[in-house]
C-alpha cells in the first residue's frame, strides 16, 4: 500500500484551475519530484500536502489516514521553503531546536538531536550564528536540518535551491539526496529544473496546466516521454511531423523524405505522428552532393553552441530545424555553412500520435 496518496486533488483560484484532479502515490522512503513550468500547479500541490491550503475536492492520505482537513501544525510535515525561512531572531541551533521545543522534548535529547543534524548538514561549526550571518546555501542547510529535526512523516521541499548560485545548487542537491537516502525519509520535491529533478529523484512527475502528464523514473522520462509536452520539457528533442506510409515496415514520410523507425511498426497508414529524436542520437556527416542517403535528412549547419564535451549544432533542414550534439573534438569537420546529412536511427527514435496518445512501447502514465 502506498504511504502518501494524493487522490483526485483539485484546487481552483477563481476561474484559474491550479490543480485539475491529480493522482499521485508514493511508497515509504521514496523521493518523488513534481516537475513543471511556472504556474503548472506543482507548488499548489505541495501546499495542499503541507496543509497551508485546502483542496476543493479530493483527499490526501498518509499511511492510510486521511489528513486533508488536519491543520498544518498537526500534520508532522517537515518543509523547506523557496524563500529563506529561518527565524531571524534565533541562531542556527535554536532554529533547528524550535520544533523539538514545541513538542516539549527533554533538553538533553533536544541538544543531542540538534547537534547530530547540524553535523549531518555540515554546519557543526556554525551553531551559534544568526541567519544573517549565514550564506544562502548555509541557510537552506539549516532549514533542512530544522525540517528533519521533528522526524517528519513526509519531507516537503519547495524549490529550495532556486535562490542559490549554480555551483552551490549542484552541491546541495547531492547532499539532499544523500541525507534522504541515509534517513530513508519519504520526500516530495518541487522544482522547475529538469536537471535537478532527474538527478536526485526516484520518480519524477511532470505537470502541466494542473495535470500530471507522466510519472516515471528519470530514465523512463528521458527515454520514453509519453506526451509531446514531456518530450519538449525533458531534455532537448527534435520533433518531426510525419505521416505513416507503411505500418508493416515502419515507414513514415517527413517533408517528402521516407524514414524507417521501429516505433512506427503496427501503425495505421495515413496516421499523423510526431517523430522524436534526441540530439545525441542524430549522426552527422558532410554532404558532398546535397542528396541524403537512407534514413537521413539533409540540411546546412547554421550555428555552433559550445557545451563543454559536446557542441550543439543547429541545422536548417528542408522542412524543419534540427539540433544535433556532436563531440567537440569532431566539430571542426562540421563548420557553419557546411551541407550535412543527418542520419535518423531506426531504433531509439520515439513516435507520438498527434492525438497525443502515448506510443505503444511507451510507459502507461497511469501505471503507478
Amino acid at each position: 500500500m502506498a504511504y502518501l496518496e494524493l487522490q483526485e486533488l483539485r484546487r481552483a483560484f477563481g476561474p484559474v484551475v491550479a490543480l485539475d484532479g491529480i493522482d499521485v502515490s508514493m511508497d515509504r522512503g521514496e523521493f518523488l519530484s513534481l516537475l513543471g513550468p511556472s504556474g503548472c500547479g506543482k507548488t499548489t500541490a505541495l501546499r495542499l500536502v503541507a496543509g497551508f491550503d485546502r483542496p476543493d475536492a479530493g483527499s490526501i492520505v498518509i499511511d492510510g489516514k486521511d489528513v486533508t482537513r488536519i491543520a498544518p501544525s498537526r500534520r508532522d510535515m517537515g518543509m523547506v521553503f523557496q524563500a529563506y525561512s529561518l527565524f531571524p531572531n534565533m541562531t542556527a541551533e535554536q532554529n533547528v531546536e524550535f520544533g523539538l521545543r514545541i513538542r516539549k522534548n527533554r533538553r538533553a535529547a533536544r541538544r543531542k538531536r540538534v547537534s547530530e543534524l547540524l553535523e549531518l548538514v555540515g554546519l557543526g561549526h556554525a551553531v551559534k550564528r544568526y541567519p544573517h550571518q549565514l550564506s544562502g546555501g548555509m541557510q537552506q542547510r539549516v532549514a533542512l536540518a530544522r525540517a528533519l529535526a521533528i522526524e517528519p512523516r513526509v519531507l516537503l521541499l519547495d524549490e529550495p535551491l532556486s535562490a542559490l548560485d549554480a555551483k552551490v545548487r549542484v552541491q546541495l542537491r547531492e547532499e539532499i539526496r544523500r541525507i534522504q537516502t541515509q534517513l530513508g525519509i519519504t520526500t516530495l520535491y518541487v522544482t522547475h529544473d529538469q536537471e535537478e529533478a532527474l538527478s536526485i529523484s526516484d520518480h519524477v512527475a511532470v505537470m502541466s496546466s494542473g495535470r500530471i502528464e507522466q510519472i516515471g523514473t528519470p530514465s523512463e522520462m528521458y527515454r520514453a516521454p509519453a506526451t509531446p509536452f514531456v518530450a519538449e520539457f525533458i531534455g532537448t528533442m527534435n520533433r518531426l511531423e510525419a505521416v505513416v506510409v507503411d505500418g508493416e515496415r515502419g515507414e513514415v514520410e517527413h517533408g517528402g523524405t521516407r524514414l524507417t523507425v521501429d516505433a512506427a511498426r503496427g501503425r495505421s497508414r495515413g496516421e499523423r505522428v510526431l517523430v522524436l529524436v534526441r540530439p545525441e542520437l542524430l549522426e552527422l556527416e558532410p554532404s558532398t552532393d546535397g542528396v541524403g542517403s537512407d534514413n537521413s535528412l539533409v540540411g546546412e549547419v547554421i550555428t555552433h553552441t559550445f557545451l563543454g564535451s559536446v557542441t550543439r549544432l543547429k541545422i536548417l533542414g528542408r522542412e524543419a530545424e534540427l539540433i544535433a550534439d556532436v563531440p567537440t573534438a569532431r566539430v571542426d569537420s562540421l563548420p557553419v555553412g557546411l551541407p550535412v546529412i543527418a542520419h535518423v536511427p531506426v531504433a531509439g527514435t520515439r513516435l507520438l500520435s498527434l492525438s497525443e496518445r502515448p506510443a505503444s512501447d511507451g510507459p502507461d502514465p497511469g501505471d503507478r
Binding site: 518543509m79 521553503f81 527565524f87 531572531n89
Partner: protein
C-alpha cells in the same frame, strides 16, 4: 589610518541644526535657573520646588501609568490586527492606513468632545477615571504612530513564510505570534511604544478638557503662577522623552534585526 575629511559646508549645516535644537533648550535652562525674587541667574530654586511638590510626582506617575496602559492596549489591539491583515487580508492594509490618518486630521478638541458625548452613559469607573476614559482616548490618538510603526515592521519580514515555517514545525497561531513574529517586529513595536509614550506624556488638550490632572496640565498650572518652575518642568519632560529614546536604542541594538536580514538577501 587616514582621517576622514569633512566638508566645511557639512560643518556649517551641523552647527545650524545644532543651534536650532540647542538654543531653545539652553534658553529654557537659563530661564529655569533664575531666582524668583531677583529674576537673576543662577539658582536651583525652581528645581527644588518641583521635586518637593507632591503634585509633580503624582501627575508624572499618572501620566506614566497612562502611557504604559495605552502602550499595552495598543500593542494587544494592533499587533494581532496588523499581523492578520498582512497575512490574510492584505487588501485591507490601505483601509487601515487611511483610518490611521483620522486622528491626524480630526483636531484633538473635536475628538475629545465627540468622545465625551459618546461615552456619556458609560459607567463611572470608566468615564470618570483617567485610566478608563483618557486611556481609551489616548489609544485612538496613538493609533497612527503605532500602526505605521508596526506596519513598517511587518513589511520588513516575510510574514507568510515565517508563519508557515513555524506551523509546519507544529506551532499554534499563538506560539507563532509570540515566539516567531513578535521578536522579529520588536524594534518596530518598541518604536511605536516610545512614540506613544512621548505623546501621552505631552498630551494636554484631552486631559484638560476632560478635567484630569496629568503631567502636562500640571505644567500648565504651574506656569500660571511660577514661570521658572514651569521652565524647569519643561526641561524635565524633555529629559524623560530623551531617556525613553535612549532606552529604545539600548533595547534595540545588539541583536539581528529584520532590516539587517533583508540586507543579506
Amino acid at each position: 589610518m587616514r582621517r576622514r575629511w569633512i566638508a566645511p559646508s557639512a560643518v556649517v549645516w551641523l552647527v545650524v541644526a545644532a543651534a536650532f535644537f540647542l538654543i531653545p533648550l539652553i534658553a529654557t535652562l537659563l530661564f529655569s535657573l533664575k531666582s524668583i525674587q531677583t529674576g537673576k541667574c543662577c539658582t536651583g530654586a525652581a528645581y527644588s520646588f518641583v521635586i518637593h511638590d507632591d503634585q509633580f510626582w503624582s501627575t508624572i506617575r499618572l501620566s506614566f501609568q497612562l502611557a504604559l496602559e495605552t502602550i499595552a492596549i495598543s500593542l494587544l489591539l494592533f499587533v494581532p490586527t496588523v499581523y492578520l491583515v498582512h497575512l490574510k487580508m492584505p487588501r485591507l492594509r490601505p483601509v487601515l492606513g487611511f483610518m490611521a490618518l483620522v486622528p491626524f486630521v480630526v483636531p484633538p478638541i473635536v475628538l475629545v468632545v465627540g468622545l465625551l458625548n459618546l461615552y456619556k452613559g458609560a459607567p463611572s469607573w470608566f468615564y470618570a477615571k483617567p485610566y478608563g476614559f483618557l486611556a481609551a482616548a489616548y489609544v485612538i490618538l496613538a493609533f497612527p504612530y503605532m500602526f505605521f510603526a508596526l506596519d513598517a515592521g511587518f513589511r520588513s519580514i516575510d510574514v507568510h513564510t515565517l508563519t508557515e515555517a513555524s506551523q509546519s514545525l507544529g506551532a499554534s497561531w499563538l506560539t507563532t505570534l509570540v515566539r516567531v513574529i513578535l521578536p522579529n517586529i520588536r524594534v518596530a513595536a518598541l518604536g511605536g511604544s516610545f512614540l506613544t509614550l512621548a505623546i501621552v506624556m505631552g498630551e494636554f488638550t484631552m486631559a484638560s478638557l476632560s478635567a484630569f490632572r496629568t503631567f502636562p496640565t500640571y505644567i500648565q498650572f504651574v506656569n500660571e503662577s511660577q514661570p521658572y518652575a514651569a521652565a524647569a518642568l519643561s526641561l524635565l519632560s524633555f529629559l524623560i522623552v530623551w531617556a525613553a529614546m535612549l532606552a529604545l536604542l539600548f533595547v534595540g541594538r545588539g541583536r539581528p534585526r529584520p532590516a539587517q536580514l533583508a540586507a543579506t538577501r
